[in-house]
Amino acid sequence: MPRNPQLNANGELQHLLSIEGLPREIITQILDTAEPFAGVTEREVKKVPLLRGKSVFNLFFEASTRTRTTFEIAAKRLSADVINLNVAVSSQSKGESLLDTVANLSAMQADVFVVRHGSSGAPYLIARHVKAHEHVINAGDGRHAHPTQGLLDLYTIRHYKKDFTRLTVAIVGDVLHSRVARSLIHGLTTLGAPEVRVIGPQTLLPAGVEALGVRVFHDMRAGLKDCDVVVMLRLQNERMNGPLLPSAQEFFKHYGLTADKLALARPDAIVMHPGPMNRGVEIDSPVADGPHSVILPQVTFGIAVRMAVMSIVAGN
């Protein structure tokens, strides 16, 4: 196996491609660094000059307004120049290859590439081909990883629960297709969460998922019992009526988060969701807007976490 492509020769973070394979110290460093950045976003002048003169290229091969916007805000708060490229890619298109696109942008003095791509592994390919001073941040690749989301989820959990080593965390929904779930699972196991559960029907759980270090539940009520953190995953429309699931309604009945199901978790349990929510499918409105929900703070923390990631890699 070649050297961990995320770390440079000094063991420092060169690229952020996946939470899997990140040493615990680096994950902690990112979370610790996000803390003061959260302070920056709370004051009137929300900028710091750290990345002034540096260019951040948002290379989004998969459309996404939310994630792209948070990366843009984060980069601008670091005083970086931000260029957005929405590269529509169809599987049939014989347009410019991925590496040619990156090479052209390299020639325009890029410092950081924030990449979202529909194919798992695309950011690794890019990272293998960028210059030494260029950094790649994975904003989501296929169903493989969404490390900044995983990190902001970890930051959120740490903010409300402090100690990972005492937590029972449940991740509910379409784990099979979820890069968010995979990233969070790796983060939680690395930071020592003793019990990580995945809850969903067999059709939505990937082969060998236990090998990631999780306990599998098909019964949501059993799975939520005594949980400290409940993470609801988004169910995409195309999954809802087909060989994987018969309908959104049946899914909601058995795997949707409602107050009565949530009551089985700990009284001070927090509810998280990477967004955007499908109200009435994964989660009902009273819970989404209720006292256990930390869904909106997640978004705020997301900016601070992304600022932390960018400033750490861009300085290495």
Binding site: Q29, G39, K47, V48, L50, S311
Partner: protein, 167 residues
């Protein structure tokens, strides 16, 4: 070596005596992590300043980011008072090149426009690379080549100056 260094506690008392006549109810104080923050906490309580103390980390304003990357474990800057129009005392432990103070002033101006900033340091070791000076200084200290002057805080809170090898 250490016998040549002045006693930090004594310098602290000297600064308090210097500052007391200058302090008004409008005076606010900001200490720079980490040594400046310790010093500021002591000064703040001894001067009985009205507004709570501000603590600042200049990690995001340093001028050496491109070379050194982001400093490890930056602390959160908290300034629990309005900076606009205030007379501020900026406190640091050791004044050397002046770059830390430059960064601190840049950061401060992102919070608002103060009326004045006066720099308070425990020790000035010379070697300025920027046109910065301290309005209140405990003592001038000569530091040998390759060494660094640091403020240390014992468990009982006692402050002392020490020399250590520069990284």
């Amino acid at each position: 070596m250490t016998s040549k260094l002045p006693d930090a506690e004594a310098l602290l008392s000297k600064l308090v005596a210097q500052l007391k006549p200058q302090v008004t109810p409008a005076t606010a104080m900001i200490g720079l992590h980490t040594g400046g923050a310790w010093l500021a906490e002591r000064l703040h309580s001894m001067l009985r300043l009205k507004d709570p103390i501000g603590l600042m980390d200049i990690a995001f304003y340093r001028d050496d980011y491109s070379k050194q990357g982001l400093k490890h474990d930056p602390k959160r800057t908290r300034i629990p008072f309005e900076v606009e129009g205030r007379d501020l005392l900026l406190v640091d432990d050791v004044l050397y090149t002046g770059r830390t103070v430059r960064a601190a002033m840049n950061e401060l101006f992102d919070y608002g426009r103060p009326k004045s900033i006066a720099l308070v340091v425990l020790a000035d070791r010379g070697g300025r690379q920027l046109p910065i000076c301290a309005q209140h200084c405990g003592a001038e200290v000569e530091v040998p080549e390759g060494m660094r002057l640091r403020l240390k805080r014992a468990e009982n809170g006692k402050l002392s100056l020490e020399l250590e090898r520069a990284a």
